[in-house]
Symmetry: D2
Subunit: 293 residues, 4 copies
């Protein structure tokens, strides 16, 4: 019923007692944290699958397995929001819960800093945590389906600095048209990310909606619009000769040709974050919005 | 279930066969249109109650009755959105359907221009129309309840150009705080009015949400947030010494004192517009948003 | 030639060796700082004129004199930007240099915090400082001249939440027109204050320009425009029946009637801040703009 | 002294009596207008150099010469602002006056529509016109100099939807830093184009300034800033691994590598438009800004 469903005191570990580990690559201090987290998990008799492309930890009980082949109870990411979105773009089962340690610039989606990570992880293993379920967006052109997005699908001109001319349809009714750098459809989670930077309003996590946000429309032709999450939005590229890209969570890029009509709607899939408590507004006020009071 | 419910082919006239008439006052050409509309209604054996404060039409079958005492099947307004909001602020039964003829600057809420008004009214009398139901906002301080709002409740400093310091609560959780000229909660209908001018996103009519929009926050402390329409928002004035006003649809103003906590939520009441068809996006694109294509 | 002229190693004290002292009233800790600052000045054989309305310090060498009657080498303010703007609104000679200690929420205009205030003041007395000269705006209706503004003159509807309809003239050419809550003309100094909150761009201190910023224009009719500082802007209220106010630096309010044409232009007067060095961009980046890097 | 210098009653034709002709390619109705304009020029004994890449007109007195080799008294463009910017990107002498006939979507820079083009051109040939001089921006990396820009130089991530991390320097002082899609420096002419869509204020034509505008900065780190036109702005890409592009007037793209520092400043070159009179604010109000009054 809700965009974000809060599940209290969940069963975190199954019989397989296996956790995945993914890091932001190329930073020594992150490998040191990964090493300590691995030790903590091992001390609880938990098996570890570690992504060889992003992290190197040498210990017993650790198996090197790429993200796309992980079969785990949950994944620990160490990095920022980019590391989370990268992990999601690779995971076979997007509903695998993720516990996120922050070593990024903003880390709005992350749960814990590095100093508190170990205590927090102890609590998670003890089941003293919640699962926060987040809506995803499905998109594609005709039968071709793009990967799901946690934050947003951004349709943008393939050539930087060139405008797209678009028609926007909501459940087959043309609701908007005009030119812009591009336009995106974002989830409540994504409404605090790129969509916010482009001028959209924030959607509270339990709003049953998605937000359409144009980027830099000249002459103010296109406006950001919140649509119900049972609707299908379509973006049609009308200008002869201009090719576009669908950018999924800033991670993968898919070609869109002139006259293509990309459809976007709420996905069957969801993303699950492990959190110590329902801390959305705490994170909003401390990580995202400047404060002076 | 929906913010805006569309009711097809409604029963427009009851046995009382009575229609109210309200005009934007002081303009001769509007009185002439009122006169012709009265003739049309009379030719259909419909009784007319006319607001003496806004309009003077001398004909049989017309009774002078102020808006607050009207007991009618529907009301015809001639003017702009201001005339509609004024009528709503006076009507005893807010759910009385309204058919709106545009003689205002923008007239986003209105249904028809003056040239097409007579044909349109013929269709309405024949029941070839729809009823569009719009959410209202209820607000107050403690037990004191302000009038319902169709568009928005705007909490603003009583002294123009002075900031309010506010704390914002959503279902008793403090979600935001900071300084601004003021802040409003708007319905989907109001999301295309003042809330849009203040930087909020548009809410499609069938989104089950309301939008909180701060006005001119220095240092970008407060952000516009869409909340679910089952939630209660509270705005608490915290700064010692600064008094505020709650402005309901730009029509009436109610004192708010420092430390008062104004509550705002979806009302039991609704507003009903008579329209020829479900023309929301047509009105959005032709009346609200500049077009060059 | 420049909006902000930087004067290196100025002569701070004249033969009268007298300094004014103004506080944000009603706060004990500010009076304690005022007391210590008074001691420091006395130890340098400097006379003190203290504003009786805002501050109570009992010591020899201190004379109680209201701001408007002060005849001093410079004024020390303790408080925030509001205290500075209040002092400016009272000072007979607006060009009296001001040294500003921050005890406010933002304090963008202030020079020093309270812990560093005493060392900083020692340097000022030794002449190891600069004088930063800031443009003021003069405004009025016909022969009636309003007080000068350091930051902005804001023309706003007298009734909160009601729109003004305005025509804008630049050197007698009508350049813009439309409706809004109000509109302001701001100096480079004011471009980081209310004008920024209303959506205007920042003017670097040495830009020879002023910025016109409309507040919440519906339908995006009016745009913020930077004009050369040798031009005269006029704002004409055209809507029958709507009265306005000219708000000068948020301090004083002056009636404007429908059909009045308020003129605004660069003033002969200037405001002078005493600073330890030319620290504009340091203040911009640490006090005004949120940072995450 | 001024960004835009107005030159009254200029000498439009020299002894060579030669005019260039450039069209938006691929549209029959534009070729028909080009044909009629060619006839009009020939009837005044004016020679014509026509760009073979954009336009095909078969008549005597017409020579096919690419834009880059034209040696003419002025150029007539038929198309929109894109056609003008394309012509400028090719012209050997950027100061060649241009007379612009509008067949584009907005055509803010153009002088005349197609129906009035012929009368207007008669007046131009008779010298009953003005020359409007517009500032250009020069930019480059080290010794490598990019082509001049009439509107803006936009530094953007090479990969659409990826952020750049930038440091901004003004005359060697670091004034700003943060992440964004990109950032641009725009002239007064460009302040009504892409810079406006990205949220910048408009610069009146006679403001001696340039405007820096970031595009979609998350967390609102970077702000649009007007700088004096005697200053040099530098944008340094700091993030390891992210490459950028400098987009000149939306026409040409130049690689920028991580750690490159692109400099931008007012150019020695200018752009000259032929207009019937000084009609900047007329064009602003009729072509750029939506109006309802």
């Amino acid at each position: 019923m809700c965009s974000t469903l809060i599940h209290q005191n969940p069963q975190i570990l199954s019989d397989k007692r296996t956790v995945g580990l993914v890091c932001k690559p190329g930073r020594m201090e992150i490998e040191r944290i990964a090493d300590r987290i691995a030790q903590l998990l091992i001390s609880h008799n938990i098996n570890i699958e570690i992504d060889p492309g992003s992290c190197h930890v040498e210990q017993d009980n650790i198996v090197s397995i790429p993200i796309e082949d992980m079969d785990v109870d949950f994944v620990v990411t160490i990095g920022g929001d980019g590391t989370i979105l990268y992990t999601l773009s690779k995971l076979k089962d997007r509903a695998t819960p993720i516990f996120c340690v922050n070593r990024g610039t903003v880390g709005f989606l992350t749960e814990t800093g590095t100093t508190t990570a170990f205590d927090a992880l102890e609590k998670v293993i003890a089941g003293e945590c919640i699962i926060e379920t987040n809506v995803n967006i499905s998109s594609g052109v005709g039968d071709k389906v793009f990967p799901d997005a946690l934050n947003e699908v951004y349709v943008v001109s393939k050539i930087p600095g060139r405008l797209l001319t678009m028609q926007i349809f909501l459940d087959d009714v043309r609701i908007d048209y005009g030119r812009a750098d591009g336009a995106m459809l974002a989830t409540p989670s994504g409404s605090t990310a790129y969509a916010l930077a482009a001028g959209g309003s924030i959607l509270a996590p339990d709003v049953n909606g998605l937000i359409f946000v144009p980027v830099c429309p000249p002459r103010f032709e296109l406006k950001s619009i919140v649509i119900p999450d049972h609707a299908t939005l379509e973006i049609e590229l009308v200008k002869k000769g201009t090719s576009g890209l669908a950018v999924i969570d800033g991670q993968t890029r898919w070609d869109i040709e002139p006259h293509d009509k990309i459809w976007l709607k709420k996905s069957e899939a969801v993303t699950k974050f492990i959190r110590l408590y329902d801390n959305y507004y705490d994170r909003l006020n401390t990580r995202l919005i400047p404060r002076t009071l």
